[in-house]
Symmetry: C2
Subunit: 284 residues, 2 copies
């Protein structure tokens, strides 16, 4: 059965959404739907307009032999705020304060829809950067790392805390945990990363900052360039806070273990989004 134009647009929309940041030659659609290139171009224009009006993302068409269409999911500040407010509200709800001032986050990290949305916020911050891989450390940074990498269309590399035979030859570093002052280990398979790759570091929680420092020294061993650093939740007393060289989506303050209360607020993500918007305006 030959699809009607509106049905064809539905199918093309699905294809673009499921293949973000990937150059799709127009001939792919021309062949698939047996349509003239001009009709396909008009269809893409309609999708572009719909996506633009609803702030779903950018559809770019590149002319020439190696040309095609490429879809980059993004969002605007207003939508990012809604997602972050929902994230903050979820952290504020329920009985999350654990012994030692730690916060129970497993259920929040276990929400795939929320992780995908936060991934989209983060991917928007880094949309103009060249990134070869998203690097995270087991375990709770993994979901958001995949959400970001799905959008950026790049691999995820997971640093482990334990050495496994299934990793082959590994590189290990020791670091001092910022909060517990214990010596911990990070291990990464030697063949995971090529030299001179550009990477984005992602973790779920920062307190003493030791994990992030550990990740950075491990990246040094692999001779790769760290393009950005992302933390989902930063704890009040992080000694690295003044550095502002990393993105954090939320911040926990005023932990009162006696009353089981704490405050949560949005991190520095809105200002980072504004910087990207400004960049885009300058480049236009």
């Amino acid at each position: 059965m030959k699809l009607k134009r509106s049905e064809r647009i539905v199918v093309m929309t699905e294809y673009l959404l499921n293949n973000p940041n990937k150059l799709i030659p127009l001939t792919y659609f021309v062949t698939k739907f047996n349509q003239a290139k001009s009709s396909i171009s008009e269809d893409i224009h309609i999708i572009k307009t719909g996506f633009k009006e609803e702030n779903i993302g950018e559809v770019k068409t590149l002319a020439g032999v190696s040309g095609g269409v490429i879809f980059t999911p993004t969002l605007v500040e207003e939508d990012a705020r809604k997602i972050l407010d929902d994230f903050i509200e979820k952290i504020s709800e329920g009985d999350r304060l654990l012994a030692g001032g730690y916060i129970f986050m497993s259920d929040i990290v276990g929400n795939p829809s929320l992780m995908n949305k936060l991934g989209r916020v983060i991917a928007t911050v880094y949309k103009n950067k060249e990134i070869d891989a998203v690097v995270t450390v087991a375990t709770k940074g993994i979901p958001v790392a995949y959400a970001i990498a799905s959008i950026l269309n790049k691999p995820v590399i997971t640093i482990r805390r334990d050495n496994k035979v299934t990793e082959g030859t590994t590189v290990a570093i020791n670091y001092v945990s910022g909060s517990t002052k214990k010596i911990e280990t990070m291990i990464l398979s030697k063949r995971s990363l090529n030299n001179h790759s550009k990477v984005l570091l992602v973790d779920d929680f920062m307190r003493g900052g030791g994990v992030l420092t550990g990740m950075e020294s491990l990246m040094n061993e692999f001779d790769v360039e760290v393009i950005g650093k992302v933390i989902l939740t930063q704890c009040y007393d992080s000694p690295r806070e003044h550095e502002n060289d990393y993105l954090y989506l939320s911040k926990i303050e005023n932990i009162d273990e006696y009353n089981g209360s704490f405050d949560v607020k949005i991190g520095n993500v809105i200002e980072k989004l504004k910087e990207v918007e400004k960049e885009d305006l300058t480049n236009e």
Copy 2:
């Protein structure tokens, strides 16, 4: 700016795709686009036809006060075969055989696009089952667990190997690794799972079958019902193979450590997909 009909369809398509297995009241679109319910229904019919023709998934409309539209991503056998062939090819490529007959899989598991596609194959097998949560064990089962759970619109629960203060009160079990015969531990936060939940167990690799048995006994402690069990890659000598009570996407055989060679083939997933298709035909 008011959207044209075709642009509106683009936006509705995106919304359905990003909210799988979620009932969306028609009034949501009616209000959003300021359109009559009849126009929105026609739009949905167009999306439904496009999705059906291209085997993207099922769009169901439910009438009545609590009615609305619900999108379930699925795929057909032919598309599943393409995804599985690609998965098998990736496992066959390169120098993956490690000491002890283990296979290096980190780069394959680190490919978000492939994990999302495999997640869609698995979600299709379980699309008619009631599932409350996807349960996996750190580390390499996590990506595909999130891919499945994103589609099913359910949470992911991650069992750990080590006890962390951030988990609060935990339940731990010991199990014997089927391949190394060592005693290993699995830990799950007590508040992760409600009694009588229905769960899908997911892991990346099965050799001796000890991890899966361990997961099952841990689930017993939580008094939950295991609806299905999924393994990405099963190794040749798995003693549980005859049971056929779990889904495995690929199978590794004839490991020759001396020559560094092995064979990979598709697991029992195609027959499981055929069973679901048969179920659907019976229910129609």
